[in-house]
Amino acid sequence: MTLWSVIGSGVAGLAVASELVARGARVQVFDPGGAPGPHGCSWWAGGMLAPWCEFENAEEPVLRLGQSAIDWWADRTPVQRRGTIVVANTRDLPDLRRFARRTTGFVDIDRGIITELEPDMGSFGKGLFFEHEAHLDPRQALQDLSRQLKEKGVEFHQKLAPAQLENAIDCRGLHAREVLHDLRGVKGEMLVVRCPDVTLTRPVRLLHPRMPLYIVPRGDGIYMLGATMIESEDSSRITARSMLELLSAAYSVNPAFGEAEVLEIGVDLRPAFPDNLPRIRRLGRTIYANGLYRHGYLLAPALAQGVADLALENKHSEMVDEDRA
């Protein structure tokens, strides 16, 4: 029986491994960084499963392929199916109207419904509620996947993959750019704060022409604030401006965020192809699965299914753009 070697244990690698194992394949995983952690960009993700919202600024496959992600994840890790609330401050209401025009799957909500859903969002008179969306805790999800894989006998090697591997599946994100020359990094910056004074139970998106924000609750008064999108490949530090903008946007959702403790600052690069859609490529004996951009958790299941289709059944899903086996 073929032994598949998944290289990289970020969300792409672990999802691929999980899908292969679910279909009865034998898998091993290589990652010199070891267990899922801050060395991979999926550690810093928001974990929103929000295909309807993302469609505002993404191509059609994100909406279609993203919808199946919620059930895929729910089989593997706790998923909160509580929807997403989208709001804008009064002066930015044109942005809310535009967002509504370009998306589907929501209902209009007024102050009464907003405060019924989230009592701590009383300052907003208008919003949109995407009731079918969901969210998960990305770190928990990565840990759950690797635990489940280990339970099923998958070996994790904390080292670089050997050079001449047969049946390799390269899920290294931006590290694969020496082979995938059309891959680029898109800088993202995020914060994790503790703010027990504010209770939000579902992701909130605040629209703004220059500094859009999302807040994802992680439970116990902990929130992820994210994320900037900058066409830069410098992942060294957050800038003061980004931090100011993230915090002031959160402050405008509820001023109690002004008293939040800043627990973490995350900076990393999202791997992206020119159209910001993921790709599967078979080059020689290696299958490359990459380019999840800002849709790591949303599109990893579809990517993993596409890889499994190609590896196990030689079927080409729509994500396969090159096959030179």
Binding site: R184, S232, E233, D275, N276
Partner: protein, 256 residues
């Protein structure tokens, strides 16, 4: 069409490169519009400097690149950003943007004039983002600018030409200076209007990048500037208060 620092552009549309859904769509918007100039910002994207794939993509568009100092609030920031832009894109062109007001992103025209002087002396060819103020325009020309770029309306507002009277006056005041409407364009009709007023080019970003279909909107903008330019060349009629029959009848033997 007037030349910009000696360069004649293939058409009068200049497009920004920020906020597109993806680099692929950005590229298609440029192809669909035939825009001859791409503006690109460095202030926020530039930290760390080298290896910028996105910038390489902009270079690959094969159009004239006009780096900008968007996001700069002081002369020092703007000068440093311009110098970096010259290195990165190997061009002396710089769109000088010096923001004076956080909410309206209105230019700080006092710092603008000073920064224009410093950059011109340093060998730059400066495209200053300014207001429609004639005296500021004069000072910018004295500082060495050979192009002026007055706003139509605040950046990203999509309100069109807020002060047509002053923009017309500016055209009349500086008949030989290449003038570009920069910022505030929301619709093709705004862009056409700018060209009808006799402006030499239109620079816009948000109206295309944030449209539901940026490629179609880029095409629409290209058609609009072309229409406006043709109309200007064709010497339009003057508006009148009363109807004017196109075929005069009085005195003609129309009953015979």
């Amino acid at each position: 069409m007037k030349a910009f620092y000696g360069t004649t552009l293939p058409n009068p549309l200049m497009l920004g490169t920020a906020q597109y859904p993806s680099p692929t769509i950005l590229e298609q918007a440029f192809r669909a519009s035939g825009a001859g100039v791409a503006t690109v910002s460095l202030r926020r994207e530039g930290a760390g400097g080298t290896g910028q794939t996105f910038w390489a993509m902009i270079r690959d568009l094969g159009v004239q690149i006009l780096p900008n100092t968007a996001g700069c609030h002081t002369i020092k920031e703007a000068v440093t950003t311009a110098q970096m832009a010259r290195e990165v894109f190997d061009t002396t062109w710089i769109k000088l943007e010096l923001i004076g007001h956080t909410d309206s992103l209105q230019p700080d025209v006092f710092q603008l004039v000073e920064a224009a002087r410093i950059l011109t002396e340093d060998g730059f060819q400066v495209f200053p983002y300014t207001t429609e103020d004639l005296i500021v325009g004069e000072r910018l020309l004295e500082a060495g600018c050979e192009v002026l770029m007055p706003w139509g309306a605040p950046i990203g507002s999509g309100r069109g030409l807020n002060n047509k009277y002053a923009l017309r006056a500016m055209r009349a005041e500086f008949p030989d200076v290449p003038l570009v409407i920069d910022a505030g364009i929301g619709l093709p009709s705004h862009a056409a209007h700018a060209m009808e007023l006799g402006y030499d080019a239109v620079l816009l970003n948000t109206a295309v990048a944030r449209a539901g279909d940026p490629i179609e909107m880029a095409q629409a903008m290209a058609l609009a500037v072309q229409a406006g330019q043709l109309a200007r060349q064709a010497d339009p009629i003057e508006p009148r208060d009363m109807a004017e029959a196109s075929t005069p009848v009085v005195g003609k033997a129309f009953l015979s």
